[in-house]
Symmetry: C2
Subunit: 150 residues, 2 copies
């Protein structure tokens, strides 16, 4: 099995590799070395924000999955916090082995621990298998996820 632990700066090349190891991600990431400085700057912003949690699934030193949770305070629903899950990835050669399920269940538990009233995520409409996966874990596709590139 694997551990789920907070990501460190040393994990960045592996995490960027996971983000790029994806039909949609391959064109938008930079897996060159040295690491694109944008990743390091972003990592530092995540690491210093107590409402961000970036974790990896670590299988004996190999990073086989990752996700980020953003804890969002809000007034709606009598001031309920929400846990937003982003950048969920499992290494392509390790998919369909339950890693994603364990990661998401871990994230849901973490959202409960932080007192969130809900967990939420958006998933590209082309990812039909992902939607079925999240539905099995209890997520309801109740909303349109709308994006605007700037």
């Amino acid at each position: 099995m694997f551990d789920i632990r907070q990501a460190t700066r040393d994990d960045l090349p592996a995490i960027v590799g996971l983000l790029a190891d994806d039909d949609l991600g391959s064109a938008r990431e930079d897996t060159g070395t040295p690491l694109n400085p944008g990743y390091l700057t972003a990592f530092e912003a995540i690491a210093r924000d107590p409402n961000q949690l970036l974790v990896v699934a670590d299988d004996h030193g190999a990073v086989v999955g990752c996700l980020q949770i953003t804890f969002i305070p809000g007034l709606s629903r009598k001031g309920a916090w929400r846990g937003q899950i982003e950048s969920v990835r499992v290494a392509s050669q390790r998919r369909s082995a339950g890693i994603g399920r364990v990661l998401i269940e871990w994230a849901i538990a973490k959202c409960r621990d932080r007192g969130c009233g809900s967990a939420q995520l958006t998933s590209d409409k082309s990812r039909a298998r992902a939607h079925a996966f999240y539905a099995r874990l209890g997520f309801v596709a109740s909303h349109e996820g709308m994006k605007l590139k700037l």
Copy 2:
């Protein structure tokens, strides 16, 4: 016209009134007095988080709209920040007068100012008019918005 300004604690009853002044929101908010303490706790969490921005549309002292932006650091897309827009409301008696458009365009500009690579929001699938509104402002309904109550 109206000003868009950061919300203060004194705006809370009016903002809660806006959140409740809505088909979906009416059942899940508490507009009683004294104010439900959950709203005050949430307001304080928003106010002390530099990545949260809660604003109101103020028409000569009357709060006629509100929204919240969460600025989210992330590794995806070479470390791009995202601006997430939530809790968009316009007073029911002031709808269809352009207030929502001005609020969202203001939020988009704020996301650009903060260097975000994208702006995003989710909208309940029952809100067809809202989706058309956001599409006119350039948002693309590219994602499923999935929610899990905890």
